[in-house]
């Protein structure tokens, strides 16, 4: 496998964390334009912990996930009672605030004769924990996809459980869910926190893959793409977001036919797809049909 294919596959894996994070909120009926902020929180905090404090990556990743979910919880607390578009706007504002805070964030230390750490708009270089341990691209690819696989299995178990049904119930009709005795707000806060942790995990992995991050990595483009991926792939199953990422990064990127026109193709594809399948390729009906067929 050459570097290019490895790189694309790694990127598909990394993006999938973010898309899954958006998906989790979408099935609970909330559209967030701000998951990239938690991705950024994960990237920055994970990077600082390994590059400046020399902690091992797994520890850094756990702390970053906790931090990501805490941030998501705090943003969710005042905003989750808002409906639809209002929530989307509030998360957008929160995420742009986070990006600007990254721009203002300077925290550099001398490590091995070099200044390491976030340096405002100049970015954060030298997140080299993985690199210095001689992990080759293929090895890192395996790590990313291994973790993604775990996340997917958790999702699939969750979707078969009562929790999964409850989240979809809340997403479809929150008032009716309340009338069934479901504590909608509490569930949504839990979902926001979990989605924040998932995005933060993706961010940690991204930072260590790239060895370099900067505030602009986490602007609104990233968040809206992850939303679009979840919506293209479909809201019926956790494979949906993955499919969405693959359609864009794999198919459009891979087939060089669209070179230079990829966004024109992608944009048109999404818009037309949404007309015919407003809940994506693998929506609830398709998934239900497939399940009835094959189980």
């Amino acid at each position: 496998m050459d570097d290019y294919v490895t790189g694309v596959l790694t990127n598909i894996g990394l993006f999938s964390f973010l898309a899954l994070s958006a998906y989790l909120l979408l099935i609970a009926g909330e559209m967030s334009f701000g998951q990239q902020a938690f991705f950024g929180v994960g990237a920055y905090s994970g990077g600082i912990l390994t590059a400046i404090y020399g902690l091992p990556l797994p520890v850094a990743a756990l702390v970053a996930m906790l931090l990501g979910s805490l941030c998501a919880f705090l943003v969710g607390l005042p905003t989750l009672r808002l409906r639809g578009l209002y929530f989307a706007m509030a998360t957008l504002a929160a995420a742009e605030m986070a990006r600007i805070l990254f721009e203002l964030f300077r925290f550099q230390r001398q490590i091995g004769g070099e200044l390491v750490g976030p340096d405002g708009t100049q970015g954060f270089r030298g997140i080299r924990w993985v690199f210095e341990r001689g992990v080759e691209p293929a090895g890192y690819l395996a790590l990313v996809w291994g973790l993604l696989l775990i996340a997917l299995v958790v999702f699939l178990l969750m979707e078969r459980s009562r929790l999964g049904a409850t989240l979809r119930a809340i997403g479809e009709d929150p008032d009716l869910a309340r009338s069934c005795g479901i504590s909608v707000e509490r569930f949504k806060l839990g979902v926001a926190a979990a989605a924040g942790a998932l995005a933060a995990l993706g961010g940690v992995l991204f930072a260590h893959h790239n060895t370099y991050i900067e505030p602009r990595n986490f602007d609104i483009m990233l968040g809206v793409h992850s939303l679009a991926y979840a919506l293209i792939g479909g809201l019926g199953t956790a494979f949906g977001p993955l499919l969405g990422v693959m359609v864009d990064l794999g198919v459009l990127e891979g087939s060089r036919v669209f070179q230079g026109y990829r966004m024109i193709a992608f944009g048109g594809l999404v818009a037309i797809l949404l007309i015919f399948r407003p809940r994506g390729l693998l929506d609830e009906k398709v998934v239900h049909w497939l399940r009835a067929r094959f189980s």
Partner: protein, 291 residues
């Protein structure tokens, strides 16, 4: 100190005038369709790009450029309406919003294909230096911007209060259910609202680009964000609110920039938006509705 404060206020009001125009366009679409059009800014950007392309090829004059910007923006707006909003009329607001985002990607790439540089010069409205009024300075473009904004608002006011179309628009904004019942031809109203909003956006876009003297593809995202911010500050769906929101945004930005610098300026604007949504989701201007 006082001089600076007044100077900042002047600058803020000028920027606010452009924001107000953007916000009015946004609000018209939101008020009537209950949809957020993320492609609003990118359509304006494409309009400006089309005009720039003409200018690069044929060196046309200011008025021709303005007309071109207007025509191209309305065309791009119509494309957005057909692809993102007409099909989702009775369905998910979220699907429409995401579709409009997808089209944003398209328009942005289209612009960079036509004119691949990051920046292009755009003929400035006025070549001379700033006018000085005692201790204050005022750019001539700012005066034009202000004057045109006021004119556009008056024209819109006339359109909304003196025509049948305006009556149906107001009916749909105030009483969406009732408007359906009395048999207003909604699709047709939507199409024309889109055209009016695009035209207003084009005016704003042209003024912004011509007073900055340059275009970049970032104009798309920039206009969408500023328009949306101003709309939210003023209260979703209220036209006078959009004007107040635009001016308020301009003032807030000018003052916070002067005190704290450009990053904190943006931070303040977003913080305000967030706090407003969390505390008072119906906006500053509107009285909260019951039910």
């Amino acid at each position: 100190m006082l001089v600076d404060l007044i100077q900042n206020t002047l600058d803020g009001l000028t920027a606010g005038a452009a924001y107000a125009l953007l916000a009015i366009g946004f609000t018209l679409i939101f008020g009537v369709l209950r949809r957020i059009n993320l492609s609003y800014g990118p359509a304006i950007m494409l309009g400006c790009y089309a005009a720039t392309w003409f200018h690069v090829q044929f060196q046309v004059g200011l008025l021709v450029l303005a007309a071109l910007t207007l025509a191209a923006t309305v065309l791009a707006g119509a494309y957005v309406e057909r692809l993102c909003f007409a099909p989702h009329r009775d369905r998910s607001a979220i699907a429409a919003m995401v579709a409009s985002f997808a089209i944003w990607m398209q328009l942005e790439e289209l612009a960079t294909l036509v004119l691949p540089n990051h920046l292009y010069a755009f003929p400035a409205l006025y070549e001379g230096g700033p006018l000085s009024l005692g201790p204050f300075t005022l750019r001539a473009e700012a005066l034009v911007m202000f004057a045109v904004t006021v004119l556009a608002c008056l024209a819109l006011q006339r359109l909304l209060y003196r025509s049948r179309f305006g009556l149906s628009v107001r009916a749909v904004i105030d009483q969406p259910v009732a408007a359906r019942l009395v048999g207003i031809n909604l699709p047709w109203v939507f199409v024309r609202v889109f055209a009016v909003a695009s035209a207003l956006g084009a005016v704003a876009g042209y003024l912004i680009v011509a007073s900055a003297g340059q275009v970049t593809p970032m104009l798309g995202m920039w206009s969408t964000l500023k328009g949306m911010l101003a709309m939210m500050l003023g209260g979703l769906g209220s036209l006078p609110g959009a004007i107040v929101g635009g001016l308020a945004l301009g003032l807030i930005e000018a003052h916070s920039q002067w005190f704290f610098g450009p990053q904190v300026r943006d931070l303040t604007a977003y913080f305000l938006l967030f706090a407003l949504l969390a505390l008072r989701p119906s906006g500053l201007w509107t009285t909260p509705r019951h039910g």
